[in-house]
């Protein structure tokens, strides 16, 4: 059984098709990333899987349960960490967690030990009895992650888990997520537009644009399909650059102020490149190898044009909150 299985999942808002005939399958235990520019349909997809939005057509099974027909049972089996803050500032961290356990019908004794365990996991045990009002942005995020896990969900949805956080906090949150995949039997679906995050965390990613999946696979496979290893070198005599064309592992040569070589596989061919240059008597002054990343894959499929941002109320709220440091 797949943790997530969608078939022709579609959602329209009036005339706008936000998600169009999306068909994906996510294995149990996988960390699956949904990537895409703003307004591509990531959140709409996530909201349908979490039963917040009803699909216009098509179907989606979460843990084998139909989101349209059994939304309540789907909700019991999933955990959600929203993009926007959703903890109660006027309660303590622990009270927020206890409330969640009550709403999800977790047995009292079990809930108590689970809450302790999770507070330790996200390293909030020492602040558990302070009002959330006094927490930093990163602490709130950690609390939300802990909260999403209380009822032992089989699938955890993370919507932009590290947006707006500083680099240290992001790294911490990545650690927690990685530990989860080891310590809990859980499938994680995350949306992000940070490519480093996706590359680091996800077993597979789906790039979504204009409501459709445009690329799907393991990050390393996608990178290999799209990317090219580029070695940029400075050599003593630039006029000899064209001689690199003769090497079997060099695909293309560009000459400018420096020489750029497109290599088959940068890691293994770099030593060969040195040997080749030595045998020809070309002196290399410096070399820099740039390997492609998921970023290149993303730009390849999605293009470089900027998307029109919608200045809707929600964005304004987010902006306000960020300014207020909430």
């Amino acid at each position: 059984m797949f943790a997530i299985e969608t078939k022709d999942l579609t959602r329209r808002f009036g005339d706008v098709v936000a998600v169009e005939k999306l068909s994906i399958q996510v294995e149990s235990g996988e960390v699956f990333g949904l990537l895409g520019p703003n307004g591509a349909g990531k959140s709409t997809t996530l909201n349908m899987l979490c039963t917040i939005l009803k699909p216009t057509s098509g179907s989606a099974l979460v843990n084998g349960l139909d989101v349209d027909r059994e939304p309540n049972r789907v909700r019991e089996s999933i955990g959600i960490v929203f993009q926007d803050p959703s903890v109660d500032n006027r309660l303590t961290g622990r009270e927020n967690l206890e409330m969640h356990a009550e709403l999800y019908g977790v047995e009292k004794q079990l809930a108590l030990s689970r809450i302790e365990e999770l507070l330790r996991l996200v390293e909030l045990d020492f602040r558990a009895d302070d009002l959330v009002k006094t927490y930093s942005g990163g602490m709130r995020r950690r609390l939300e992650i802990a909260r999403g896990l209380i009822h032992h969900p089989k699938v955890l949805f993370l919507d932009e888990p590290t947006i707006g956080l500083d680099p240290q906090t992001r790294a911490k949150i990545w650690d927690y997520i990685k530990r989860l995949t080891v310590e809990e039997e859980i499938t994680i679906i995350l949306t992000t537009h940070y490519m480093d995050e996706a590359e680091l965390l996800c077993d597979r990613v789906g790039i979504i644009d204009h409501g459709k999946i445009v690329a799907l696979g393991k990050p390393s496979d996608l990178i290999r399909d799209v990317g090219e290893d580029l070695a940029t070198l400075r050599i003593e005599d630039n006029s000899r650059a064209s001689e690199f064309d003769g090497a079997p592992f060099v695909r293309r040569v560009y000459t400018g102020e420096s020489v750029s070589l497109v290599l088959n596989d940068g890691g293994s061919t770099l030593p060969k490149l040195f040997e080749y240059a030595a045998s020809k008597g070309i002196k290399i002054l410096s070399i820099e190898l740039r390997r492609p990343t998921l970023n290149d894959v993303f730009l390849h499929y999605v293009g470089r044009e900027l998307r029109a941002e919608h200045g809707d109320g929600k964005d304004r709220m987010r902006l306000m909150r960020r300014r207020r440091g909430l």
Binding site: C50, T51, I52, L53, N72, R73, R75, E76, I80, F82, D84, P85, S86, V87, D88, N89, R90, L91, E95, M99, H100, E102, L103, Y104, G105, R147, G313, M317
Partner: protein, 248 residues
């Protein structure tokens, strides 16, 4: 209905509200201010045709005012929960919308009644004689009144998207409901335009019932008050549930 979820939301409402002592204190202080200043000032001016002193007459009206302000605010606080994202957490939980709404209603009413009770117990300072039966009867009516008022707040919160509109709610809903409920003056010799509004205002019957219990004067029969208040509670609760369901 899931009782555990109802209780959870109920407890949360109480906790959040009562934890902020300033909420309760300022609410009680406002009522005392009205009783002292308004009651004292107008009491000295002397109305004709009042069967009891003005301060005694006013006292049940001020309890009703307190219930009105606190209940509607509680209902409207859903906007706050929504704006700060917390509503989303509740709405995606397996708890049914109806349980959540019931919890909100019980929570809001309990807070309103607790504040009302504090004022009620101050009654002897303003010439009110309290009996155990009187207090119990008042508690019953205070809950009945609050149910309608919290529900009205919930309905308003589903129409209003942000808190920016709160001032107009104050001006066009809360103040008129207060002024035209008989809380401040007798309602048997009113200008003709006001009479229909007063009769349609559920708070009128709440004030009337409290006044009969506490000072023994009133316009309608107590059973009629119960009937109208129950009807209002059922209608507004149905509206509240609807408003809550329709929200995505």
């Amino acid at each position: 209905m899931n009782m555990r979820a109802v209780k959870t939301i109920w407890v949360r409402e109480l906790r959040v509200h009562l934890r902020d002592r300033a909420n309760v204190i300022s609410s009680v202080a406002r009522s005392v201010l009205w009783l002292l200043v308004f009651g004292g000032g107008f009491g000295a001016a002397r109305f004709s045709g009042l069967e009891v002193g003005y301060q005694e007459f006013l006292f049940p009206g001020i309890i009703a005012m307190s219930l009105l302000f606190t209940s509607i605010r509680s209902g409207i606080s859903v906007i706050w929960d929504r704006e700060f994202g917390f509503m989303k957490e509740i709405l995606v939980s397996p708890a049914s919308r109806f349980s959540i709404m019931a919890g909100k209603m019980l929570g809001g009413s309990t807070i309103a009644v607790v504040e009302g009770l504090i004022i009620l117990l101050l009654g002897p300072l303003f010439g009110i004689k309290l009996s155990a039966f009187g207090v119990l009867a008042c508690l019953f009516f205070m809950f009945l009144i609050s149910f309608s008022l919290v529900s009205i707040g919930l309905i308003v919160s589903s129409i209003m998207k942000t808190f920016e509109g709160f001032q107009s709610i104050m001006t066009f809903l809360i103040m008129p409901m207060f002024f035209m409920s008989g809380a401040l003056f007798p309602i048997d010799k009113l200008p003709s335009w006001m009479t229909p509004i007063v009769s349609l205002n559920p708070l009128t019957y709440g004030v009337d019932a409290l006044r009969q219990i506490l000072v023994g004067v009133g316009k309608y029969g107590i059973l009629f008050d119960i009937f109208v208040l129950s009807l209002a509670a059922v209608v507004t609760m149905a509206g509240g549930v609807r408003a809550f369901r329709n929200r995505e």
